[in-house]
Amino acid sequence: MARKPTRDDGGDSGLGALGADVDAMLLAALERAEAEGGGTGEEISATDETLTTGRMIVTYKEGAADDGALANMGMRTADARDFEDGAVAMDALGDADALLLPEIGVAVISGNAASERSLGSAGAKSLASDSPISVIEPEYFAFSEGDAGEYLRGFLRAAQTIEADLRGLGAPVDEEDEEGGALVLGATPGLIASRVPQSSRSGLGIRVAVLDTGMDLGHPEFAGRAMVSRSFVGQPVQDLHSHGTHCIGTACGPLAPPGNTPRYGIAHRSTIFVGKVLSNSGTGSTGGILAGMNWAIANNCAVISMSLGAQTGVQFGYVAAGAAALARGCLIIAAAGNAASSTGAPANSPSIMSVASLDRNLAPSSFSNRGKIDISAIGRDVWSSVPRPQRHGFKTGTSMACPHVAGVAALWAQTNGSLRGMALWQRLLASARPLPYPASRVGRGLVQAP
């Protein structure tokens, strides 16, 4: 269910509230834009800097603490340090008017609290010279590279820093390793770059949905694997294209394929949910894809991999589906797209993790889309399973990078039952290996296995 509050709910639980979901605020922003006669309401320009969330951002003077400045304005304040894991538990903020982020000298104020006190963008001028506050500005949505886009990314980083502090150096709280060492010699470059062979995790007990062209259900290297399948395109699940079988191979393929074949699969003991949402010609439509997402979420798949897209602006439907997934502990991971242009839908949704492609030298692939990128993985010349009789083959694209992140997400999900939804998202970003390229190309960097 789209988590848009009803229009008549009045209080601080509404739009612009600290706990408001990004999608809810997005919908409100679109309504505002429509009311102002701009836009069709169907697309959001990635460069539209007029898209404000309704909340305000307070930046403190360097070295200054809040010292009750907001409380003196009559605001109920919450402090990020008070949260157990520092996660962006925005929906747990209750009726607070402001959230303090002391680590970065910033506070976020709800729309209502700001408007009640006339804290518009000009509000800074009315601040007393001895106020610890440097400036008060509107908060913007983050879709793309640029100043506004850096904010949410920075916010996430801040939350992760806080989390790391609370946990002590951010060491993952791993449960007992019951599966023993699993060092496998001979793995594909994509697995090696993401440190998959060194991981003892297998994805056991984790449901991984791959929404694509289906699967070669008789592929010998998947014999005996727990697999649930369903078609949403009016064709049998059996993959007559090869794209789906390739993506499933990377995310969920075997630990040790026979013969001289290197290891190409990551979550080798995960339960595979095969959702055929693209036909054997590799095409589909939003409706069938949303039906597949609905199925995977209803089945509580902790990880949902989508190597598909369209070069359009943000789509309401995907934003709502991504938010619903996160609310149910599911993480949707999508390929950014291969147009060497702005990230397409659904990966451009703020509630869906966007994956860019890297070449084997860890440079961004030339074709890989840019802008709203969260993380990256190898996507060039990826070796994985394809339908019989070939059984294996190379493919290239963000489509191939995406299941690397999905497989690694399943390994992380296995380490700790609390790593679901947004917590899993944050762990993937916090553990990524930084790369010397802009975030608009590689996000937080190269995905790393636990």
């Binding site: 269910m1 590799g282 095409t283 939003t286 949303l290 609905n294 589906a321 394809v386």
Partner: protein
């Protein structure tokens, strides 16, 4: 009458339980009710989209669009 088009109807949280029926009354031929994500898919005359958008509990009505896997890996192996 205009050309029938496929549409994606995203519902608001707490949308009334009969929103599907009321969309149908306004001309939506329902294809699927996707309860886990709060979306109804279906088809309608292009001229009915504005009316569907006004139904209580509807957050957005969008056109269903074609999706693919995109080059460079679009070719079957």
């Amino acid at each position: 009458m205009t050309e029938p088009v496929k549409v994606i109807v995203t519902l608001e949280a707490g949308a009334p339980g009969d929103v599907g029926q009321r969309l149908a009354d306004k001309g939506l031929k329902i294809e699927a009710m996707l309860d886990a994500i709060g979306i109804i898919t279906g088809a309608c005359d292009a001229g009915d989209i504005a009316r569907l958008q006004k139904v209580d509990g509807v957050a957005a009505v969008e056109h269903d669009i074609a999706v693919d896997i995109g080059p460079p890996d679009a070719e079957p192996s």
